[in-house]
């Protein structure tokens, strides 16, 4: 009798195994027919419903709409966790005091802060650099929860990250203070350079 963990492991492995297809299936004819059926069902349903809505019928049955992304953006709930930004003081400097709470709590360990001296001793500490590796971020929002200064928020309403490399997915302090200023095609401008795995 195998143990529970072994059984689980087998099930996970089996899930990856493909079933042999029958001859009839390998002609792909049933799959094509199925696909056509599904698409045309949606087509006719939406055609009917949109015409009906025009004449004031079936107003409570929703029909599909198309958003012309990226020219047109979808309205998002304000509480949705989207890309990060750093809030500013009245004088434009970051509110962040480089306390490293977010860096510490981040489960993906994708925040990298280097602290520096602030000229005003009543503020004292300020980030010299603040990088977030969006390629690793899991959008959990813990960083926002942990911040004692309300310095980091996830309310930019931006959620697109497309870049030509993993390095291109880093947000630096300039982008975080002015969300949307970074062109993702740009070469990465990282303060923190991750070295090859350390030899320790």
């Amino acid at each position: 009798m195998s143990t529970l963990s072994e059984q689980l492991l087998h099930r996970i492995r089996d899930a990856h195994k493909r079933r042999e297809m029958t001859w009839w299936e390998r002609t792909y004819l049933p799959a094509i027919a199925q696909g056509l059926w599904l698409t045309s069902r949606h087509f006719w349903r939406n055609l009917f419903l949109h015409i009906a809505h025009r004449v004031g019928l079936f107003r409570d049955v929703p029909a599909a709409v198309t958003i012309q992304y990226p020219d047109q953006q979808r309205q998002m709930a304000p509480r949705l966790r989207t890309r990060h930004r750093l809030t500013k003081r009245a004088d434009g400097t970051p509110r962040c005091v480089a306390c490293m709470m977010c860096e510490t709590v981040c489960p993906a360990r994708c925040i990298y802060i280097v602290a520096g001296e602030h000229p005003d001793p009543n503020v004292e500490k300020v980030p010299k650099s603040f990088d977030i590796d969006l390629g690793k971020c899991v959008y959990c929002g813990y960083c926002v929860e942990a911040c004692p200064e309300d310095a980091i928020r996830m309310d930019t309403q931006r959620h697109d990250i497309a870049a030509y490399s993993r390095d291109g997915m880093w947000l630096d302090i300039k982008e975080l203070l002015n969300p949307g200023s970074k062109q993702f095609g740009e070469p990465p401008e990282k303060f923190v350079q991750l070295p090859p795995p350390p030899s320790r």
């Binding site: 306390c99 990298y112 802060i113 280097v114 520096g116 923190v192 070295p195 030899s199």
Partner: protein, 536 residues
């Protein structure tokens, strides 16, 4: 000495027996009912001003401070009664009246006694509603220490330290009432040789270390017990390193060691260490030899270990076959551990090399408290192993072409004997081997330089000037391709078929304790973390 009289008292229902003259606080500690304290420090006089150590003593109407009250026969102490706990809470509220609560920017956060006790006894709904008094913040009061007077709880530990231990008297508490303020006397700076200790004893973030400032959050630190290699006192230390370096390589530009802290040892350094030792750790991560280097006619080549060892073994073999081992010399260093000294001595004597000496670094300043003139940790150990001292004769021999091969360990000889003499020797030698941790002018003269592990990357023992054998532990793994010296000799011995092998420092020490008279009876277990004396 007359036998001290013993008395018994009851702490939280537990009876403890202590010598007469013990304070209630110490008795409570012995009864394992610890009492919180700020101003009390076992190494300083008692001030009794912070009032956090309040306890209830049966028969006295008011709460008493445990740090100043003497324990008496039959005393009944309660450290957990509602009265006591309310007292502590009220004291904490007072201490925090003018406190800025800037934990997010405070380097002490995470090891702050205010935070710790507030977690246990805090009044989470404070009643204070007035304006806080403003005081100076982020004032560099000396080369090593940053003062934030707002965070100070006026425990006067730092004042007592500079009055009683360093005897330099820089600190004072100025003004009265809630305008009282810690500071250095006008026109003074805190620049004595022991200034860093005030950071350790300040229970809050009022005094912080400028070297450590903003470098690393304390909760990223790992800690390993070690011994300071800065002088032959061998102050007991903890190496605090960035334990999260693998995924937080941006901290302090990837350096590994963040700071050193003294560790209590009543027979060596008590609670203290000097600034030279405290800030003398940068060589661990800077300017290291990371790879085997070959140097011929000024051109440097990085080579794998195998080639370096082959070359050295080949040359030694030639000498052995030509019965010319008297033309080889070895200059060990008092920076090496007992284990490494023993292993290298054994290797060379088994091979037949007779000219084996050790060399100390240039001596420096000393004082009557901790600092010793010998700036290396293990000269006494080298003496106890019967190794002769002084490299000068060997250098002269080399310059006279009487030597063909010379091994130099760790130390920079140019600093000691002047660059021209070492250059001359290097020119006349067939092979100058440098085995060391850091690059220096001598390593740059060597034909072969082998990278070795620093003390923070090795297990082993140092013998301090009093003959106390003390353990060091590896906090880090060797940097780059560096190896501990004993391992290098193990591999060389293998290539020369000497029938020697060293397994690890502990086995080497066991062997050493068997064969070397002064070390007899010692073992790692016995040495433990407080050290043990050599046989007289």
């Amino acid at each position: 000495m007359p036998e001290p009289k013993y008395i018994s008292l009851t702490v939280d229902g537990k009876t403890v027996t202590v010598p007469e003259g013990t304070t209630v606080l110490q008795a409570c500690e012995k009864a394992q009912s610890p009492v919180p304290f700020y101003c009390y420090h076992p190494g300083l006089s008692i001030a009794g001003n912070c009032r956090i150590c309040l306890v209830e003593i049966a028969g006295t109407p008011k709460l008493q401070i445990a740090c100043y009250t003497r324990a008496a026969e039959g005393m009944v102490v309660n450290t957990t009664s509602d009265n006591t706990l309310n007292g502590r809470r009220d004291v904490l509220e007072f201490l925090l009246i003018n406190h800025p609560l800037d934990c997010p920017v405070c380097d002490q956060a995470g090891e702050c006694w205010l935070q710790d006790y507030y977690m246990q006894h805090g009044l989470y709904d404070p009643k204070f509603d007035e304006q806080k008094i403003k005081k100076p913040k982020a004032v560099p009061i000396g080369p090593t220490v940053m003062l934030d007077a707002e965070r100070c709880i006026l425990c006067s530990r730092c004042v007592r330290f500079t009055d009683e231990i360093s005897k330099t008297g820089e600190f004072g508490i100025f003004n009265r009432g809630d305008h009282s303020e810690i500071g250095v006397h006008p026109g003074k700076t805190l620049d004595n040789k022991y200034s860093g200790n005030v950071v350790d004893i300040c229970p809050v973030g009022a005094l912080t270390d400028r070297d450590f400032r903003f470098k690393c959050r304390v909760w990223y630190l790992g800690s390993t017990n070690s011994v300071c290699p800065g002088c032959s006192r061998g102050c007991n230390t903890q190496i605090h390193y960035n334990r999260e370096r693998d995924w937080r390589p941006h901290i302090a530009n990837g350096e590994r060691v963040m700071r050193l802290k003294p560790r209590y040892n009543p027979d060596v350094n008590q609670w203290w260490m000097c600034d030279e030792g405290r800030y003398g750790y940068h060589f661990i991560d800077e300017n290291r030899l990371t790879q085997v280097q070959f140097r011929r006619n000024g051109a440097v080549q990085q080579k794998p270990w195998e080639e370096g060892l082959e070359l050295i073994a080949g040359t030694l073999k030639q000498l052995r076959d030509a019965k010319a081992l008297d033309q080889a010399g070895v200059i060990l260093s008092s920076h090496m551990t007992n284990e490494n000294l023993y292993a290298s001595r054994k290797f060379f004597t088994t091979l037949g090399v007779k000219q084996l000496v050790f060399q100390r670094p240039k001596s420096g300043s000393s004082d009557t408290f901790l600092i010793q003139a010998d700036k290396s940790p293990n000269a006494r150990g080298a003496q106890a192993l019967g190794i002769a001292e002084g490299a000068e004769a060997l250098l002269d021999l080399a310059a006279k072409k009487a030597l063909r091969v010379l091994f130099v360990f760790v130390q920079d000889l140019t600093e000691l004997f002047g660059p021209s003499r070492v250059q001359e020797a290097a020119r006349q030698l067939e092979l100058l081997v440098f085995v060391g941790t850091n690059m220096n002018p001598t390593s740059q003269l060597a034909h072969v330089a082998l990278p070795s592990a620093v003390y923070a990357e090795q297990d082993g023992t140092f013998t301090n000037f009093e003959g106390r054998v003390q353990r060091i532990n590896a906090a880090l793994t060797p940097w780059g391709e560096a190896k501990p010296e004993w391992q290098v000799f193990s591999e060389l011995a293998d290539k020369l078929n000497l029938g020697l092998a060293f397994a690890d420092p502990q086995t080497i020490f066991t062997e050493l304790a068997k064969t070397e008279k002064p070390f007899q009876g010692l073992s790692y277990q016995l040495i433990s973390d407080q050290g043990a004396l050599l046989k007289k």
